[in-house]
């Protein structure tokens, strides 16, 4: 029964993130890729995403805060992170990346400052949610491994 409750807990949590618009159906498509041969797939994807996003946002902040704004690299990185967030289902973060990219392409410094702040906000919400999902996911994997003895 514990296993069923945990799975239900995970589904409920994901649904609430969808209701808030933080995640879209793509996250469940990612979940669907998990197999018995690769039980850590979702965890690894989340870890990889957060690592890329942490580094990317730190770098973009440096590009924006330099004496001269590096719009070219800012554009490139916001495109890159838009891809990552979209692929993991982080729809609100993806939109924030898109808007930041547009501001950067227009060499609009103020727009980029605002866009960056919004991106950080969206990423923090998404990251918190993904970390919570990871915790439940880890328990599920642990239970499954124990159950297979």
């Amino acid at each position: 029964m514990v296993g069923t409750d945990l799975r239900q807990q995970l589904n409920n949590y994901i649904q609430s993130m969808r209701d808030q618009g933080i995640l879209d159906s793509q996250f469940q498509s990612v979940q669907a890729l998990k197999t018995e041969e690769n039980p850590h797939f979702v965890l690894e994807t989340i870890t990889g995403f957060c690592s890329d996003a942490d580094n990317g946002i730190a770098q973009m902040t440096r590009y924006l805060e330099g004496p001269v704004v590096d719009f070219t690299n800012l554009t490139g990185l916001s495109h890159f992170l838009r891809g990552s967030s979209s692929s993991i289902g982080g729809v609100r973060m993806a939109l924030a990346c898109r808007d930041l990219r547009r501001a950067s392409e227009a060499n609009n410094k103020q727009g980029c400052i605002e866009g960056m702040a919004r991106l950080k906000h969206e990423y923090n919400s998404l990251k918190e949610g993904l970390n919570n999902i990871s915790q439940i996911e880890r328990q599920l994997i642990g239970n499954a491994q124990r159950g297979r003895q």
Binding site: S29, A32, L33, N38, T45, G48, R82, G83, S87
Partner: protein, 162 residues
């Protein structure tokens, strides 16, 4: 001259194989080269392909993809290859350095059997001029990211069984 291929630059997911097959033959486990600069997208496409019984090699840019295919600038290209290492190439369009379109052009310029390998371009953006440009250059298909399992199944059916 013998054309023995040593499989280099393989990622964890792919195993070395000694089989040499024609490009479009109906192989049990097609070998796909997936090219994308984005780590998450590489991970997703790799798992999608593994779940569709494909062998996968991933590359993070066009230069590494060409090296894997034996078409790198500093590689000996004078051998007329009778076989290709891969049955399909899937490449992202937007990549720094060499774009997927440039990679496609490079492959299609080959005089060897490499130019017969189907190349699928994927992109997160639906830009008709971009799509047409790729199809005109010889891309087999253009697909929108993120790919779904159904996309990969369709790809497999259409390209591997002709």
């Amino acid at each position: 001259m013998s054309c023995e291929f040593v499989y280099e630059h393989m990622d964890a997911a792919s195993a070395a194989s000694s089989s040499t097959k024609g490009v479009m033959e109906n192989v049990e486990q097609p070998h796909v080269l997936a090219v994308d600069d984005n780590l998450i997208d590489r991970k997703l496409i790799e798992q999608l392909l593994i779940n569709s019984s494909c062998k996968v090699t991933t590359a993070e840019n066009g230069r590494r993809a060409l090296e894997f295919l034996g078409l790198g600038d500093d590689q000996n290209n004078t051998l007329e290859s009778r076989v290709s290492k891969v049955n399909l190439i899937i490449t992202d369009y937007c990549m720094p350095g060499m774009t997927g379109y440039e990679l496609l052009k490079r492959i299609k310029q080959e005089s060897s059997v490499m130019k017969e390998v189907p190349v699928v371009i994927v992109s997160s953006e639906n830009v008709p001029t971009r799509i047409n440009k790729c199809l005109e250059e010889g891309a087999q298909m253009f697909m929108l990211k993120p790919l779904k399992q159904s996309d990969v199944k369709k790809l497999r059916c259409q390209l591997m069984n002709s």
